[in-house]
């Protein structure tokens, strides 16, 4: 079947979709957006969290056909999404998502640890929560990171000054196996603090 929907502000069309495919599979394997991760495919880990019409959901549990005509924001569009939100509250706008499929081998071969200086977060166009995850050491293997970022960003949108218990509750659907969550807590607190200083 064919599915038309909007991803990170850009209209997308996926063809020859098998009816049992999930939104996650379509994003990763058909639209070249592998940022949403395939850790459990049973809604128990949150690594595939995206926003569907603004609401955080596990994209592994959304049938591809169910997103027809709807809007999806993935980690790839998070920085743009946050920027547009900062510019004008409530506006969900377009971004330039990648057009090609998957991670090509050329890209994979060309992988190089980026960043010249010791603090490689500097100068990059990131959302506050993305920057905070880097700064606070909340990223290790990074496989849970995209889902956590989408969930944390949405929580901070709703609740700009969360208590620790609020953060834990909001992120209780996102498993991380590397960090013990402490640095993730630090990152969200940091993002909240920076956000409140900006206001």
């Amino acid at each position: 079947m064919r599915v038309n929907f909007t991803v990170n502000g850009r209209p997308q069309e996926a063809d020859d979709v098998w009816e049992g495919e999930s939104l996650l599979y379509v994003l990763r394997e058909r639209l070249g957006l592998p940022g949403s991760k395939n850790a459990c495919e049973q809604g128990e880990c949150g690594s595939c969290t995206v926003r569907l019409d603004g609401v955080p959901v596990c994209s592994c549990l959304v049938a591809a056909g169910q997103v027809e005509g709807r809007e999806v924001v993935t980690v790839e569009g998070l920085a743009d999404f946050a920027r547009q939100r900062a510019r004008s509250e409530g506006t969900r706008g377009s971004s330039g998502g990648p057009g090609a499929s998957g991670t090509s081998l050329d890209e994979a071969r060309a992988w190089q640890a980026r960043g010249a200086g010791p603090h490689t977060g500097e100068g990059a166009e990131l959302s506050p929560v993305q920057q905070a995850f880097i700064d606070a050491g909340a990223v290790q293997c990074g496989f849970c990171t995209p889902g956590l970022l989408v969930a944390a960003d949405e929580m901070l949108e709703r609740n700009p000054s969360p208590s620790d218990a609020d953060i834990r509750e909001a992120l209780s659907g996102n498993l991380c196996r590397c960090t013990g969550y402490e640095k993730i807590m630090d990152a969200v607190r940091l993002a909240a603090a920076r956000q409140s200083e900006e206001v």
């Binding site: 592998p34 991760k37 960043g115 880097i134 293997c141 640095k183």
Partner: protein
């Protein structure tokens, strides 16, 4: 944007016995060792661009699927692949009979694992056939059409059934190097450690405690599932993009089975979504390569979570029998113990796990009279192998429970009792090996005990009980009823690096050259970055040693020599050491060039000790002699070298004596828990850790490792266990619905106190850190639960039924 305060990385400790490392070269260079520099892959990871192994994609690629055995132990009578092959969209179906080379088995140490089952399956989920098709669903449907006829065999599930006189042999005709010293061919390896005379010493004991402990099977549960992409190459070889812990070990096992020389199997490390030991063995590597070579097309294989539970080895479950004795003034007299590890159907890392369990079986204590035996079994249970703290984790759970019981028997405070018996630098291990670097066991206990206690009843608020802070959490099971607090302590010892005479080395290629008017260092190793932050540390080492600001980390591949495994807490030590060594050699060459070019202009080129700092050659007095850019001009200086730590030796097979380990790592925990004693639910309130790290190359990463390791230990304590049916040997909970790992609501505050006492034998004095926190976390939580409930609790994980008498 101003910069809000980051939480303090950790409280810097003093140096009661030993001293921190002093660094001269590079101490003025920004972003060197000792700083919390940020991950070089951080931006890619937060933007979703980082290419994990499951993200690989290639035009025209096929999807591989594995058909696995539905029973644990059976003869295969027949396999019919005709219908699967006839399915539209299917490009290949392969079984054992289609394997191209003479070599059809692989294994880390013992090559006992069939690439595809041959006439027999030995565990639930063993690969039987593989399929390549144009869509994963097509591959799945085709695999389901393969007809396998099994004749089931009796299952071997424990020591009794494994060593019974009429037991079926898991592996007939063993020829491996352990078969000569094991008491039964269903025992992979046996290691006794005998020192002094435990029998005689037992007579001196005023108090003796005996205990039997059971440790459950833990899963690594890395979040990135096993996956990779194999691309056939024009020369008849194959290029594999893979998530692994050790590229060269994979290569050594893959190439012979494909019938290819190693130089025709190229491997590039793809992004690794965690490992924790579970990627030390092969999973889908060979299968993807076989299908790619057979079809001439790129083949991608991605396990789902269900398959992942069958696709990698787990932590050995264990039965541990201990006897400890002490005099009435609290000195340990002796330890006797027997540790039975279930290795499952194939050997994997079982021999090393046995070696660790035996040699570290008494823990970080001074005991002169010791009688230890550790064995690993072959059974029909899932294969077990490496997982963070392998062997030492199981032992620590048991000996720390024993230490509490013995302290109680003697009538001493549990922490003081440990401190009284704590080992220190100079202590001789049960293996006869003296500990020749700081071993601040008593100090770590002191520190963890000195941390302020978390406030009581934090769940109380003006609006009533906040269930999120109570046992049961969001499930709303208590508003304070039945809740009792408990506190527990534990400390552990882990060896660092590959032990027992293994040639444990790493290779680094370092290059420095001028790019765009700036000196740039490139570090190329085959080290698997699995999340631990090795890439961060390599860049720091290069900055420190070469005084440059810009460092490029080359992707890890097999175009450079082996880096050894990302396991056993060894990578910062060994590959870090290799990078340091290569940088030093590069530095000497650079200085030689400088002397050649500029030596005549300034006497200091010949007389002074020269350093590279901030892109310049300077004297140790700080005088600038030249810019690196001017020294190098168009020249690139490159060095590739292997680097080894001090050699170790095997343990004597009869007595266990030998200098088997190169370094030890120590951590202590204090757990504070609140237990709903009526419902048997546990909330860990705080899990404080003190650890000696020798030298924190990257304090932020160090703390992250300690907190992560601590949390995996918490998981074993209260929830994580692969449940294997004792009758069928089938896995009962292969999913994240029923194999539970801690969520952020299960994980407490984890304050970390880091001690830095240099090990003079190690680069920068550093100590491998990744595993030690996983050891003591579990027994500390168990001790706290015992403290809250008064129950004995001799198994882990402890489940609600164990706390409520309803098991």
């Amino acid at each position: 944007m101003s910069s809000p305060k980051l939480p303090p990385a950790f409280a810097q400790g003093g140096a009661p016995t030993g001293a921190p490392t002093r660094i001269t070269q590079g101490s003025k260079t920004k972003g060197g060792i000792g700083e919390s520099t940020l991950r070089p892959d951080g931006i890619l990871k937060v933007t979703g661009e980082f290419a994990y192994s499951s993200d690989m994609w290639h035009e025209d690629m096929l999807w591989g699927q594995i058909l696995r055995s539905t029973v644990a132990h059976a003869e295969i009578l027949s396999i019919d692949t005709a219908e699967a092959l006839a399915t539209p969209g299917v490009y290949a179906v392969m079984t054992y009979d289609d394997l191209p080379a003479e070599v059809k088995h692989y294994g880390l140490e013992i090559q006992d694992t069939p690439v595809l089952a041959h006439g027999r399956v030995r565990h639930h989920g063993e690969p039987v056939a593989i399929v390549a098709a144009d869509h994963p669903e097509t591959a799945r449907r085709a695999a389901a059409k393969i007809k396998v006829e099994y004749r089931e065999l009796p299952v071997i599930t424990d020591e009794a059934s494994a060593t019974a006189p009429d037991a079926i042999l898991l592996h007939e005709g063993r020829t491996d190097h352990h078969v000569g010293h094991v008491p039964h061919p269903n025992i992979v390896h046996r290691q006794p450690i005998v020192r002094g005379d435990a029998e005689q010493a037992a007579a001196r004991a005023d108090f003796v405690v005996k205990g039997e402990y059971h440790f459950g099977m833990q899963d690594q549960a890395f979040l990135g599932p096993e996956s990779g992409l194999a691309v056939p190459e024009e020369d008849g070889g194959v290029h594999l993009y893979i998530a692994t812990q050790w590229l060269h070990s994979d290569l050594r096992q893959i190439a012979p089975v494909l019938g290819l020389p190693e130089d025709k199997v190229r491997m590039t490390l793809a992004g690794v979504g965690g490992a924790f030991g579970g990627r030390e063995d092969l999973s889908m590597q060979i299968h993807a390569c076989l299908l790619a070579l057979r079809t001439g097309k790129p083949v991608k294989i991605v396990y789902n979570r269900f398959e992942s539970f069958f696709g990698h080895v787990h932590r050995h479950p264990a039965k541990l029998y201990y006897e400890h004795g002490a005099t009435k003034d609290g000195k340990l007299t002796h330890v006797k113990c027997r540790i039975v590890l279930d290795g499952g159907a194939y050997a994997s890392a079982s021999p090393a796990v046995v070696g660790n369990a035996a040699s570290l079986g008494v823990g970080p204590y001074v005991v002169d009279d010791v009688d230890i035996e550790a064995v690993a079994l072959y059974t029909n249970n899932p294969p077990c192998g490496a997982m963070r703290g392998f062997g030492a984790v199981q032992a620590c759970f048991a000996y720390e429970a024993q230490m509490d019981r013995l302290a109680d028997a003697v009538g001493m405070d549990r922490v003081e009792f440990r401190q009284l018996n704590a080992m220190s630098q100079g202590t001789v291990m049960p293996t006869g090996q003296p500990v020749d670097s700081p071993a601040p066991v008593a100090e770590l206990l002191r520190r963890v005990k000195a941390m302020p206690m978390p406030p009581e009843r934090q769940w109380e608020s003006s609006e009533g009980a906040d269930v999120r802070q109570l046992p049961g959490g969001l499930s709303n099971t208590t508003h304070g009823e039945g809740v009792v607090r408990g506190v527990g302590y534990a400390v552990g010892i882990k060896n660092v690096g590959f032990s027992e005479g293994f040639d444990d080395y790493s290779t680094a290629r370092v290059r420095v050259e001028v790019v765009a008017g700036e000196p740039v260092a490139t570090v190329h190793t085959a080290m698997a970055e699995v999340g631990q932050g090795g890439v961060t540390v390599h860049a720091q080492i290069a900055r420190t040693e070469l005084g440059v600001a810009r460092v490029t980390i080359h992707p890890a591949d097999t175009q450079v020599g082996s880096a050894g495994s990302t396991s056993a807490s060894r990578q910062t030590y060994v590959t870090g050491g290799a990078v340091k060594n290569a940088c030093e050699l590069v530095r000497e060459k650079v200085l030689d060039i400088g002397r050649r070019r500029f030596g005549s202009y300034h006497p200091a080129w010949a007389s002074a000790e020269l350093l590279l700092e901030g892109g310049k050659v300077v004297t140790d007095g700080g005088e600038v002699l030249a810019d690196l850019v001017d020294v190098l001009e168009d020249e690139a200086v490159e060095v590739e070298r292997e680097w080894r730590h001090r050699p170790t030796e095997p343990f004597d097979l009869r007595t266990g004596q030998g200098n088997g380990h190169v370094q030890y790592s120590f951590a202590a925990h204090r757990a504070v828990v609140e237990v709903d004693t009526e419902l048997g639910l546990v909330k860990v309130i705080e899990l404080a850790c003190a650890q000696d790290v020798g030298k924190a190359l990257n304090p932020l990463s160090v703390v992250g490792q300690i907190q992560g390791g601590t949390t995996q230990g918490l998981g074993i304590a209260v929830m994580e266990e692969i449940v294997v049916d004792p009758v069928t040997a089938k896995v009962r909970n292969p999913s994240f619905t029923d194999y539970l790992i801690p969520t952020i609501l299960d994980t407490p505050v984890i304050p970390v106190d880091v001690l830095e006492l240099a090990d003079d034998h190690a680069p920068y004095g550093l100590r491998g850190i990744g595993e030690a926190p996983t050891l003591s976390s579990t027994p500390a939580v168990l001790a706290a639960i015992r403290n809250a409930t008064g129950l004995e609790l001799n198994r882990t994980p402890v489940r609600p039924e164990h706390l409520t008498g309803t098991a």
